[in-house]
Symmetry: C2
Subunit: 385 residues, 2 copies
Amino acid sequence: MEKKQILLLPGPTPVPPAVLRAMGTPAIDHRGPEFRELLSEVTEGIKEIYQTQNDLLILTASGTGGMEAAVTNFLSPGEKALVVSIGAFGDRFERICRAYDVEPEVLTYEWGTAARAEDVAERLRRDTAGEIKAILVQHNETSTGVLNDLEAISRARGDHPALLIVDAISGLVAADLKTDAWGLDVVITGSQKAFMIPPGLAMLSVSQRAWEAAARCKNRRYYFDLQAAKEFFAKGQTPFTPAVSVFFGLREALKMLRAEGLAAAFARHRLYRDMIRAGVKALGLELLAPDEIASPAVTAVKTPAGLTPRDIRTPLREKYGVVTAGGQGKLSDSIFRFGHLGYVDPTDLVSALAALEMVLAEKGFSVSPGAGVAAAEAVWRRYLG
Amino acid sequence: MEKKQILLLPGPTPVPPAVLRAMGTPAIDHRGPEFRELLSEVTEGIKEIYQTQNDLLILTASGTGGMEAAVTNFLSPGEKALVVSIGAFGDRFERICRAYDVEPEVLTYEWGTAARAEDVAERLRRDTAGEIKAILVQHNETSTGVLNDLEAISRARGDHPALLIVDAISGLVAADLKTDAWGLDVVITGSQKAFMIPPGLAMLSVSQRAWEAAARCKNRRYYFDLQAAKEFFAKGQTPFTPAVSVFFGLREALKMLRAEGLAAAFARHRLYRDMIRAGVKALGLELLAPDEIASPAVTAVKTPAGLTPRDIRTPLREKYGVVTAGGQGKLSDSIFRFGHLGYVDPTDLVSALAALEMVLAEKGFSVSPGAGVAAAEAVWRRYLG
């Protein structure tokens, strides 16, 4: 029989049945009234989640396409960007800058740590000539499971004119992000994370200041041109044929998120984080990120000495149906990751911890069976009150 | 009650129920064994349709993303491309070239006519310095309903070293296209056309000569970098999270197309073309393209004097549920289009012609009711033999 899978990836995430059904809605005219209504409804729903009045555009692409759009629409060749990198996706911003002849100056942090707002403040203070045109930073760094303090980084910008461009692809909905209150000029996200829908769409919010920069920007772009997107959105269309099925799923998922409310969604993701972290610690394994900066969306676990990540991930998937992510880049041999965002249930995490106990026992580690699950249950009980 | 719609667009096209159901398949790990198998299966299926042994890559984007990839991976800034433009999508190739600092030299034809291979041959003969690095051309021009003679254009290239880059987004599966036999270096298509699946994926085949050009190419690209795609495809992955749901739909659709066979699919699309054209002519309306070059995928109809395209399209959609496309660019005030590709049935075309008869009669045109349908039936009977 086909094995039941518990998908604990930092995207794609499990998709609720109602959203899966909506994905099978028959085709419509993407230049007709049905799509115009659909686009308007999902745009408003996403803006609520973004906590913004800024323009909100949706591109048919994965999140990385959104990151590219955030570079090529706002930064010209030769201009300098301050890339705040705490992991693989910070490095991706750097690579996109280089690919488009933007000059990245990288503030690098050890993987597993968060960015320090005071470093950003200090660097901007030294930029008396105003050379830095944008700060590129992750909200949640997927590769390490670390949440940056965006509010502090926003304060650190002070009145420096640099745009603040945020990759919130894996963080949005899982953790608070106040686009307008924090003055975030461009915020990027993707469909296949805490939105609970399949991959295929990238979203970006764009502030008035960012549009002014876009008007001056000389970089090369066509498919990801946001000015064209803005013009088409004004008439209820997209410049190029959109992934309509994913829009149908998005509409369903946004109804669910609105019914839940943002505060409840954040609390739910904190529960996931705390359950997994308590369970893993109780089994004697080490976590990559310290508690204070731990991501509510994904948790990186250090592989115990003598084992590779594959030694744990392969039996988790093949014997127990628990699908985890490996490490990225320099962490690929030393960590594995539990994604816990979107349509995840506490029971999924309990199952995953039980499976982890089984695998560790099989590998000869001395674990007391049930210890991880018990620790997670304790967290869960406190949450239920 | 929600009105039944007959979707006759040149994409998105109607989606078969089995494909719609497949779109609702639960999420999988895009870096796991399930996706590796899925990617391998659909890649082989698409290569059969392309009639190619070349590499075949799939991007999460609409077709225009594929067109951009075909420019930015093979043409460097300052290099010259011969853009053969017979309509709006030829013009799009020109605009993408300009956006990426490639120099387009445009062979322009009146909209509604086909490219002349002898013009291409003549221009290349004069290019003794080998300045033209690529020929960009449409297989089927969606905006006018004209099919180019790609085989003749390929012969016209002779031994000139220019790459032959083909936008087959709306033509593939509807009309024959022999990638290898005709020496087509790059062929682009999209999911939402004759593949019968929703939008979200672009496909490209890449010849060995094109890879050699890519290795020298200095243009800016990141999300659409085909070398990265090739490396990831070799391990059964994509560089960035793919639109997995559309892949599920694609697998189903490819099974259907394989069961049908390519020759039968081409014949089926010729039937659609001939039915619509016979019906429209019988109603006294004029077609934009002459029979010899008429597209099997989409038919452009000239709006009768005294009416705008909207006068016909709006009642077709609102009263009869028949969804047609307007004209693009300079034809937007003078034509409307029936798309007839993918999961379309002869009965849909009969219904559309009946609805057109109703609308024309309402508008005071003297049509003999049933004349359009009768003409289409005659074609249909000949096809059934």
